[in-house]
Symmetry: C2
Subunit: 334 residues, 2 copies
DNA sequence: TTGTATGCGTTATCAC
DNA sequence: GTGATAACGCATACAA
């Protein structure tokens, strides 16, 4: 409730001086500095963000959001929805949000007139040039979706926990003693895949010792250079008694139809990740049994908010990691 | 992006006049009124909420939030957390939020010096005096948790959908052909109970015809005046072959331990609603299998936000109903 | 080293 | 009917 003006009066100085103390702009005698800081503490001064936003407009902040083409990875359609909504909100503060789409397995080409006061991106090889550019220009970065130790913060899924939830679901669906298979495009060299599988195994080992995950029922496309569909058929013939199949990577759900056509088990359950439009349809058709979501909209919005708070108000994020909620979706709550 | 000042310049009038047009304060010639409105349309004028908040402080808005004692219904601890967080945020706008706790089956006693510019409450008999008072004083009301057609809006759970999700979960856990029992304190005279049971039945009928809900396996305490624990024992002896028990009302989870002690089925699943601290413990102990949540924090925060937007900015809510998300929680994502 | 003045967009209160 | 202006709390450029 205390204002900068009240503090200035009590301290017997001007608001300019109080401001300099608060923003460490130096040029203040140690004596008055202490007096002001004392009062700030005592009176519990909290800057009014609504008001501050007013003054911030003049900065004309520019934020750059780098993301993946939703046509290639539908998950990012949700991310972009979050970005757009946040961008609209930030427009009131005269903040400009520029969205840059990059493509899988292709280095992002930095345009020479690219400029930004803050950057949000995922930690992917194709975006390495942007990372390096940000470091060289000393521009603050927030990572999302794929964790990275650098940067101000990371917003995204805890993939190991995601795998644990999948394990819990498998157990739920089979009274704790079902047979599970894992099928995935790519393999454990991909962090999200590796961590999900690790979490999955850990959870089975810790709480569901009657569940059965045969090592030979873990299928990665990269092992044999065969397509996901072919692999699915192989899997089903090698393991006709599976109760659940856990499809790990985004996009893997495309194989559902093939699985249903080739299995002889009408009760076979399939668990996937994320919830795209296609997956919604698949759930309605009964192809997907359950899916695990990771708040795509928040992954788009929160990095921008963190950058804005840092640049506009000088506030460092409270945490380094902002794990997104992992939600379970079935036909009735998708 | 257009400001009131730009519009004034283009229209060749002062900002005062534009303001009068925008707020229908009259005393403006029809001619200039039209010209201004025209420009507002063309230039897509949007008032800057951050700035407006500044001016709003002078109003000194008071909001009253009526809720249930969390000691009696732990669900409302989550609601109150949402209220407190929102109250802190609104304090920046010089908005005062007063929380009023009422007790079950007891009429709320309105203090003579109660005053509020806006009210949030649940549609419960004990709060009827407050409803009537609000109407007589012409104070805007937002309802939460228990729906009501009056008021500006309703924020809360779609109980029928909640029941549908429970049905989906039961099917998930029993390959679509399990035996289910329902146990509940109170009965279908309570709206939340009635709607959940209705949704549950509808969903089973529509999508899971191999599931079995025996009418004699639906137990309400009010039918026999017996305690929930006694009823649970009766239920288990009458239906020893149950695969799942659906505990409908908040608080019903207290009976879990009794159920586990009296059942001979080690695989018996129990589904509850909400996620209080006690329920978290019960899930860890394996007493509760899954629970369905309804965003308690949002039920606390959103009504205040709606009232604030209405009173401060004159914005009517976009919808009349704000259904909360229904989320599924198991051991791994609680 | 410190204080003053101005502006951010809107509201509300004057005076004309 | 209309226009000018103070005020909201903070940031900042500039003056002292």
């Amino acid at each position: 409730m205390a204002t900068i003006k009240e503090i200035a009066e009590k301290a017997g100085v001007s608001i300019g001086t109080v401001d300099r103390v608060l923003h460490d702009r130096g040029r203040v005698s140690e004596e008055t500095r202490q007096r002001v800081l004392q009062l700030v503490q005592e009176m519990g001064y909290q800057p009014n963000t609504a008001v501050r936003a007013l003054a911030i407009r003049r900065k004309g902040l520019k934020l750059a959001f780098f993301t993946v083409d939703p046509a290639e990875h539908p998950f990012f359609a949700g991310v972009l929805a979050g970005v757009r909504k946040k961008a609209e909100e930030l427009a009131q503060y005269n903040v400009e949000v520029n969205i840059h789409i990059c493509h899988a397995s292709e280095m992002f080409n930095i345009s020479p007139d690219l400029q930004a006061d803050g950057i949000a991106l995922l930690h992917t090889p194709g975006l390495q040039p942007v990372q390096e550019w940000a470091v060289s220009q000393d521009i603050p970065v927030v990572y999302y979706n794929i964790p990275c130790e650098d940067g101000l913060a990371y917003v995204g899924c805890d993939y190991e926990q995601s795998g644990r939830i999948a394990a819990g679901l498998c157990a739920l669906m089979t009274r704790g003693r079902g047979r599970v298979g894992i099928l995935s495009e790519g393999d454990e060299r991909i962090l999200s895949c590796r961590d999900r599988v690790r979490g999955f195994r850990k959870e089975l080992g810790a709480n569901y010792t009657d569940m059965h995950l045969d090592e030979s029922a873990v299928f990665y496309t990269s092992d044999t250079e065969t397509s996901l569909d072919t692999l699915a058929v192989q899997m089903l013939s090698a393991h006709p008694d599976l109760d659940v199949i856990y499809l790990i990577n985004p996009g893997d759900y495309r194989v559902c139809r093939t699985i249903r056509e080739h299995t002889k088990n009408p009760d076979l359950r399939i668990i996937t990740n994320d919830l795209t439009d296609t997956q919604r349809r698949y759930m309605q058709e009964g192809l997907i049994t359950a899916t695990i979501c990771q708040e795509p909209e928040r992954q788009g919005a929160l990095p921008l908010e963190i950058l804005f708070q840092y640049l506009a108000n000088g506030l460092l994020p409270e945490k380094r990691n902002y794990p997104t909620d992992l939600s379970i979706h079935i036909l009735q709550n998708m």
